[in-house]
Symmetry: C2
């Protein structure tokens, strides 16, 4: 499994958005879509090149994971609570299929002869990966961070 910079950045950005809403405004907010986070602040806090990040945020919005507002007080917010967004959702939003064999989506690798059994292996691997990433939500990751390992040194 190769995790590209794009996927990595996307996850970090989503986590940062989720955390900002939690810590910044908390549960007090009443209205509809308050607590927007700007791309610039995401880039800064997670050390991601801003213009690169903007393209990623666009993908996440198109995939329906983020909503955005332009203008002076614009920014980004999650469309769903962090409990309902999984790592798999984010990965698929920016990266397409989870497993590919030479660029093709696993099930149509086209083997002949003695290699036919390989298709099953790739499908099994795909299933194993999906199980992990689809059962881990952003909320899980945030809790793990703040309770379990509060800023360990190096």
């Amino acid at each position: 499994m190769y995790v590209s910079a794009r996927s990595d950045y996307a996850l970090r950005a989503m986590l940062a958005v989720a955390a900002a809403v939690r810590g910044g405004g908390g549960d007090a907010g009443g209205g509809g879509t308050s607590e927007l986070v700007k791309a610039g602040s995401l880039a800064e806090v997670q050390e991601i090149p801003l213009s690169f990040l903007q393209g990623i945020l666009l993908d996440l919005r198109r995939a329906g994971l983020l909503l955005s507002h332009r203008g002076a007080e614009g920014g980004y917010a999650l469309t769903r609570p962090p409990e309902e967004i999984t790592v798999g959702d984010v990965l698929r939003a920016v990266g397409g299929s989870l497993t590919t064999v030479r660029g093709l989506p696993a099930e149509r690798a086209g083997y002949h002869g003695v290699a036919a059994g390989l298709t099953d292996v790739w499908l099994a691997v795909h299933g194993a990966i999906a199980t992990v990433v689809d059962s881990t939500s952003l909320a899980d990751l945030l809790n793990r961070t703040t309770t379990d390992r509060a800023s360990t040194t190096s």
Copy 2:
């Protein structure tokens, strides 16, 4: 998980070697390293560019999965019975680590702040993949091929 052409070819070549020994000579051979398969015949039966395959076979030999002999009646053979060689062995021989985050080997991705929990996700994914590929041997794949699905049309 991206399966490169290199990894794919490596697995198919190993399977072809294992099958050739099985079908060609069987258990009759007495001496040390009989039943050598030539790179050319592997390339042909699995439709792999020969000179590309040669580099892959070299990696497999260096990793201790194949032995080779030069000269007129030269070729390749497995160093261990196909029951004791797993898919994971082959993948690691040609591809290095199974999971990488932006080129780095998973455990040293270097996250700060709210993203710290991601390391655990990648380790879990790595474990899930390893479980699958390390519990599937070449012999498993050969049996699956010959019994379960003997040359299905298209």
